[in-house]
Amino acid sequence: MLNQSPWKVTLVLLVCLAGLIFSFPNLFSRATVDQWPGFLPKGQINLGLDLQGGAYLLLEVDSNAVIKDRMDELTNEVRVALRGAGVGYQGLGVVGDAVAFRLTDPGQREAALEAIRPLNVASGTGAGLSMFAPGTLSGGMELATEEPGDGRIVLRLSEAGRSARLTAAISQSLEIVRRRIDELGTREASVQRQGENRIVVQVPGESSPEAIKRLLGQTAKLTFHIVDLDTPLEVARAGGLPPGSMLLGSDEMGPNGQPLQYVVRRQVVVGGESLVDAQPTLQNNQPAVSFRFDSAGGRKFGQATQQNVGQLLAIVLDDKVISAPRVNEPILGGSGIISGNFTFQTATELAVLLRAGALPAPLEVIEERSVGPELGADSIRSGVLACIVAGIAVFIFMLVYYGPVFGLIANLALVVNLVLVFAVMSFLGATLTLPGIAGIVLVIGQAVDSNVLIYERIHEEVKNGRSPIASLDVGFNEAMRTIVDSNVTSFIAGIALFIFGTGPVKGFAVTHCIGIITTMFTAVTFTRMVVAYWYKWRRPRAIPL
């Protein structure tokens, strides 16, 4: 009991010192700490969004839309392939999550299968899949072909094709969301993937998530199409659309106060993926968006405008026509201006969206929480106050109840405990939430438990007539087993909370678990050491417990 190995003492003192050093940065503002020289620890406890204010959004990638998009694309590919091979077909279209058609001459089955075979490749033809090396798909094939008889052929995504498609969509969405959020200019915004098809966006300091939702609520798929002037609107509305054209709405108001509609050719002249820049600008004193293509896109755009002088060029965003200006002359410079029904804000937002790129599928907000900075500041203030008062109350109780010597030792252990909790949290960059503060208050209440266990045990041994030194020795040893058992049990519960819990549950688990570890440390080493030194110094004839 009395002989503490000098190594152990040094180690304990080092840990306490490290605790002080690592919790030290929390006393300063982030900006001050950033200017410190490199060798100093700079980790600070992260405040949760509930304490500093901010917005939390949980988004889900619409997997049905991803599949549907692929099927639409596939329909076009099948059409081109069958025509190229001279195979007659009818009723080609998307049915549920598959593409189906019927052969006019069932005898052409072999030829048809031969024609569509090249479509079925591991690497896929969509932009999203190109990032996967061929062979990523188990079994290699993206599509599964079914022939329910009667000359019908059905193509649907294979299991592997489906999952590769979804994985690609989520990674791409993640990237685009990240870029769009970066455009907000908020420091420390975080975008993370969660589970199979979800994205968590956390933006500290942003208390109104509306702006973020507007930013993420659009897929922002930009395409340029030539307007089909040969098909009058009335014919199109009555269902007389030629196969290569489509009817699109617009945000622009017509003279009669109704939103305009356009018939445009399906073929995309050039798409948003070729954009390299977009900026808000003014045109004729109206807010507008200027854009620039990469060289390939610029060439395509140049050619198309050259061939279509005098035609209308529809600028389509998410299946809505922004505007459809007349092509007066070929646009060869690879850049242009989108004018339309913009305010300065919407023009800026569109520019941001275009720069960041299109989402492969719409994102749905399935959970949203935001806390204003005022409430967060209130919470910190009351949390800190509660911690201080709780600390003082426990401090006084221990002093009164266990006397100046042992009370003070317990209180020292308590302070070391709190310093270590802060140090560990700073070192790990753990997040402190409001329930986490509640956890710390509880740590205060329970940190003294180990001292109480030790003291009560020593008291019992003294009562049983042991000598002071034997009482201390037995007291510590017997109490230690209890401390370990009870703390390990609580720790197991805490770890389960940390792993399976979400939100406030997790925030609580973090401080609770760290608190248990530091409590065990101080109980096993620190308290024992201080008591040993006290005994050697005073050599008391009786233990004041």
């Binding site: 907000v365 399935i366 959970e367 949203e368 929480r369 935001s370 806390v371 204003g372 409430l375 009351s382 949390g383 509660a386 911690c387 008062v389 709780a390 109350a393 426990v394 109780f397 266990y402 006397g403 409001l434 329930p435 509640a438 956890g439 208050v441 509880l442 209440g445 329970q446 003294v448 438990d449 109480v452 266990l453 009560e456 041994e461 003294v462 020795d473 037995v474 040893n477 017997e478 209890t482 058992d485 009870s486 049990t489 609580s490 197991i492 519960a493 805490g494 770890i495 389960a496 909370l497 792993i499 399976f500 819990g501 939100g503 549950v505 925030g507 609770h512 233990i543 004041p544 417990l545």
Partner: protein, 316 residues
């Protein structure tokens, strides 16, 4: 020996075990009442678990709830529930989940716009939350899993470190404590949300701590007093640890009361559950966890056969 203040006199000898039946009946009544209450009335689930929208606003002056309600009702968005929170300027607006997520999300903006139009721009939106039905189900399941996994982990640990009877005893105490916690929610109508799960689990953590301390003493006394009848041994263990039990209960309560008074409205419900919970935890250790050991016939298994001469009591 120095005289000092003690919460518990030395040589305490309360025969807890003899008075067990009234407490067993009391616990049984509470459990049954809770079960009935929860089945009939249900818990007041917050939006975390049933989905929906919450907006917390701070009005520039004392809030006119009925005027606010009529403003929001005029939007025709379905039933909105308004109540003051904290001061008379703070108002909580709750709206139930709808089928259409997009519509539900759009409501927040509509409500904000209409409140701004009616009451001016001085309104501070302190907090807004929206939880879709898909997420709320998952949050509830995650909460249940967290509870189950932690309970299983604890049982396995106790089984390894002690005997299986201790595991069962701790489990019984745990079930009792969680039920008592839920009972508080059921009877007071306090909102049951994610934070409630954290509160329940922490109460479980505290109660377990308490149980393990006494179990530890039971195990030690079993080795020390080979011939002592188990009832007497359980009483002795509880009495010997009572000083520690009360001192720790006292410091924990001090800290929790500070949190209750000063911690602000957000953690208040949490603290209420914890304060009642730690008391329930101490109770359940004495009247659930300890008696279970008696009924599971611990003495017959945990020790050497009684016919052998009892060895000298273990000394430090």
């Amino acid at each position: 020996m120095a005289h000092r203040l003690r919460l518990v006199p030395d040589g305490l000898n309360i025969p807890y075990f003899r008075y067990r039946w009234p407490f067993f009946v009391w616990s049984a009544v509470v459990l049954i009442a809770t079960a009935v209450m929860v089945t009939v009335n249900g818990l007041n689930f917050g939006i975390d678990f049933k989905g929906g929208t919450v907006i917390e606003v701070e009005m520039p002056g004392p809030a006119d709830i009925s005027a606010m309600r009529s403003t929001i009702d005029a939007l025709g968005l379905g039933a909105a529930e308004l109540q003051t929170a904290g001061s008379d300027r703070d108002v909580l607006i709750r709206m139930e989940a709808t089928e259409d997520q997009n519509e539900q999300r759009a409501r927040i903006e509509q409500v904000k716009t209409s409140l701004n139009e009616r009451f001016g721009e001085g309104i501070v939106y302190k907090r807004q939350e929206f939880v879709g039905p898909k997420v709320s189900n998952e949050l509830l399941m995650n909460g249940v899993w967290a509870v189950l996994i932690s309970v299983i982990g604890v049982l396995v640990y106790l089984w390894f470190r002690f005997e299986w009877q201790y595991g069962i005893g701790a489990l019984a105490a745990l079930v009792h404590d969680v039920s008592a916690g839920i009972a508080i929610y059921a009877f007071t109508g306090m909102e049951f949300n994610l934070t409630s799960i954290a509160a329940l689990l922490m109460l479980v953590g505290y109660s377990l701590n308490d149980t393990v301390v006494i179990y530890d003493r039971v195990r030690e006394n079993l080795r020390r007093y080979k011939a002592m009848p188990i009832e007497q041994l359980l009483d002795r263990s509880v009495n010997e640890t009572m000083a520690r039990t009360l001192a720790t209960l006292f410091t924990t309560l001090l800290a929790l009361i500070a949190l209750f008074v000063l911690g602000g409205p957000v953690v208040r419900d949490f603290t209420v559950i914890m304060i009642l919970g730690v008391i329930v935890g101490v109770y359940s250790t004495i009247y659930i966890a300890a008696p279970v050991l008696y009924y599971l016939n611990l003495r017959a298994i945990g020790t050497a056969p009684p016919k052998q001469p009892a060895p000298v009591p273990a000394k430090g």
